[in-house]
Symmetry: C2
Subunit: 111 residues, 2 copies
DNA sequence: CGTTCATATGACTACTTGTTCATATGATAA
DNA sequence: TTATCATATGAACAAGTAGTCATATGAACG
């Protein structure tokens, strides 16, 4: 410690969540920190969609979308169901909408 | 387009925000997508703190913290005030707390 | 069976980024 | 001024990652 802020440090240190929890938190936000994934999540918040529909909507490769969907699925933000050859993805959690909503509020509410 | 989902595509396409807005949104979440920055933001949500206090709290270099504070300041998530040689940082926006809170809800509310 | 459609996957590459190290700035005190 | 404290900054390096390309899987159809 350089100058004196022991009391403050102790206070904040007790309130700070465990490293692992904060790491999980940043990992969660990291998923929203890519424009392709945010677009996918936003689209899925409107409607369930199949992979090629998302790819066309975003003007991107099926492969690129598939990779991102896997990332989102591994994190349990989206889930899928199969219907013949087509696989439909949807949000697995309403928190996704809430988180995106909060972000939008920050962006749009500028005085 | 490969198989038929024109109606859905048109519907979702009109509801999807502009590319630039979604890009800004992902840029915002990107800031929360690093454990060091999340820790800093969480700490500052408890109390205003100087750089070396944050560095000690997180067990990291003053330089590393300073770099991240600059990133957060450029994004207008934190602001600073000078008091002699010391510079105190604080959250510049209550949305930061709300966003972190939403993330926590998602993490903790598991059934 | 073989073919086609929809999606998934693995390897590779180019780009981004968080930290370190050394140094600079800027304020205070002697 | 010189020294010291608190912070900022620039360059460089290592680790992570989004997209591409080629290929694999898996279901439906003839």
């Amino acid at each position: 410690m350089i100058h004196n802020h022991l009391d403050l440090l102790n206070k904040v240190k007790t309130d700070l969540p465990a490293d692992e929890l904060l790491s999980d938190l940043s990992d969660l936000f990291k998923l929203f920190g890519d424009s392709t994934r945010v677009k996918i999540l936003f689209a899925l918040s409107e409607s369930e969609m199949c992979v090629c529909a998302i790819a066309e909507l975003l003007g991107m490769t099926q492969s690129a979308i598939s990779h991102q969907l896997r990332t989102l699925k591994d994190a349990n933000l989206v889930a899928s169901r199969r219907e013949g050859k087509t696989i439909y993805y949807h949000l697995s959690d309403d928190h996704v909408r809430a988180i995106i909503g909060q972000g939008f509020e920050h962006l749009t509410e500028k005085q």
